[in-house]
């Protein structure tokens, strides 16, 4: 198929960017979106032009590095990451607008690459448990009820790709926060630091310049790992509990 791509080009963090239109022919439906961009970059290289900068790493939907706003949808029209998005989701003759995640907390580095270190700083603020590492502990020493283990696991599926922030009209990272808080809060190991964790992580979230949640649900719709809205309720409940405990 033949596609028209309107891609955001920006040479660096502090220079103005703009859309540039490209034509890509012979796109196979079996290609991933990133492979299609690879083809375009080959084309640009052969013409002696600067290739388009975009992030990618594992290309199997588990690392969270790739993330593009594709015609107004974070990670495009499938419920997956950009690297796992098939070109068969598009039709011959389509015009696709490709933008980087737009959030002031995710500054643009170049073209489609944004700096998601804000997420790392949120994790550093409290997204961990304090334990002695080394030999694996006996798995049965701290039993975890199945329902809690399942919810912790489902929340731990978050890969920190930032699609929730990208899709949110307020550029809020509450789904990311909710996933991390629920993941650690559902298991016994997460209890000792539960109150201080939520306060530190939310304070860092606000400090980074993310917006507040308005419970609209766009984040869950965009999430490639289908993290549900109820983790945000758990986040809110944990903060309410911390408030009551005087944190």
């Amino acid at each position: 198929m033949r596609l028209t791509l309107k891609i955001w080009r920006q040479a660096g963090p502090d220079v103005a960017g703009d859309f540039v239109t490209y034509q890509v022919d012979d796109v196979s439906g079996d290609m991933s979106f990133l492979e299609m961009l690879d083809v375009l970059n080959e084309q640009l290289n052969s013409e002696g032009k600067e290739p388009i900068a975009f992030d990618s790493d594992c290309r199997e939907g588990i690392c969270g590095m790739c993330g593009l706003m594709i015609s107004g949808l974070a990670h495009g029209p499938e419920v997956t990451t950009t690297c796992q998005l098939h070109m068969r989701s598009f039709s011959d003759g389509d015009t696709i607008t490709v933008e980087p995640w737009r959030a002031d907390a995710f500054p643009i580095i170049r073209d489609l690459i944004v700096d998601r270190s804000a997420f790392d700083r949120i994790i550093q603020a409290g997204g961990f448990i304090t334990v002695n590492t080394g030999a694996a502990p006996e798995a049965h020493s701290v039993p975890v009820p199945k329902a809690n283990a399942d919810r912790a696991f489902d929340s731990a599926k978050c890969i920190g790709c930032g699609a929730c922030v990208a899709a949110c009209p307020n550029a809020s990272a509450m789904l990311f926060l909710g996933a991390k808080i629920t993941h650690l809060g559902e298991v016994p190991q997460g209890q000792p630091e539960r109150d201080s964790r939520v306060v530190k992580m939310v304070a860092q979230h606000d400090h980074e310049g993310f917006g507040g949640c308005t419970n609209i649900g766009e984040c869950s719709a965009a999430c490639p790992k289908e993290i549900p809205q109820d983790v945000i309720s758990t986040l809110n409940k944990d903060l309410r509990t911390a408030l009551r405990h005087g944190y």
Partner: protein
């Protein structure tokens, strides 16, 4: 690439966005309870002039002689006024924060899951506030009879005179549609913000609750003005 550090200063639960959202939620819950009670009181209009005026009078004599005349009414007014200030302050603070969080907008952005109600929370809220100011001027602070007749000293008569004017009833119908949308998302949202929707079931039930509360309030509020407009109450 090494992660640059940028610590937040003195984190406290009180200074977070979520605490601000909780202010919205609690004050919103006060308003939801208030409109339910207000709607119930308005329905007295259907029982005629005496029932309605007695109700208006009783609002001022509740608790007498333990409380002074209109004592409880003033307590409620102060609670509502403080809630209103807090609700608006939190709303505009969060609105500003959200605007700053994405100073560069998308060229193309599709809506996937958001409801009409949720999308109109902010501007709908502003509209409801403007309506509220007019509503208070009309029936409490100044008392205006839009039919052009001299303002009666009788609450029932003022309501009947007013809603016999079609355009005034129309303003109220539009305001009630705005209130429906605000309550439908607001009541759901306050449950989520207060952390009561931690499972798929409770989350789904909170959404239904939002629409049920909104429907009860709005239908209840619309019955008296429409009854007056269609001359079922004179």
């Amino acid at each position: 690439m090494a992660t640059t550090t940028s610590p937040a200063t003195r984190p406290t639960a009180r200074s977070t966005t979520i605490a601000l959202k909780m202010v919205m939620a609690v004050t919103g819950a006060i308003f939801a309870l208030f409109v339910l009670a207000h709607m119930y009181g308005n329905l007295k209009l259907l029982w005629g002039e005496e029932a309605y005026n007695d109700y208006a009078h009783h609002l001022r004599t509740i608790g007498e002689p333990m409380l002074p005349y209109a004592g409880l009414l003033w307590v409620l007014r102060i609670v509502l006024l403080v809630s209103l200030v807090a609700h608006l302050w939190a709303a505009f603070t969060l609105w500003g924060r959200a605007e700053r969080a994405r100073s560069h907008k998308y060229a193309v952005k599709k809506r996937v899951r958001q409801s009409l109600s949720s999308r109109w929370m902010r501007w709908g809220g502003v509209f409801i506030f403007v309506f509220l100011v007019w509503h208070l001027i009309e029936f409490t602070i100044v008392r205006v009879d839009v039919s052009g007749k001299p303002v009666p000293d009788n609450p029932f008569q003022l309501v009947v005179d007013s809603f016999q004017v079609w355009w005034l009833t129309l303003i109220y119908v539009v305001a009630m549609l705005a209130l429906y949308m605000h309550l439908a998302h607001g009541v759901f949202s306050l449950n989520q913000t207060l952390g009561w929707t931690n499972t798929k079931g409770t989350y789904a039930r909170a959404k239904v609750l939002g629409h049920v509360v909104a429907a009860v309030v709005v239908v209840g509020f619309l019955i008296p003005p429409l009854a007056v407009l269609f001359r079922l109450v004179k």
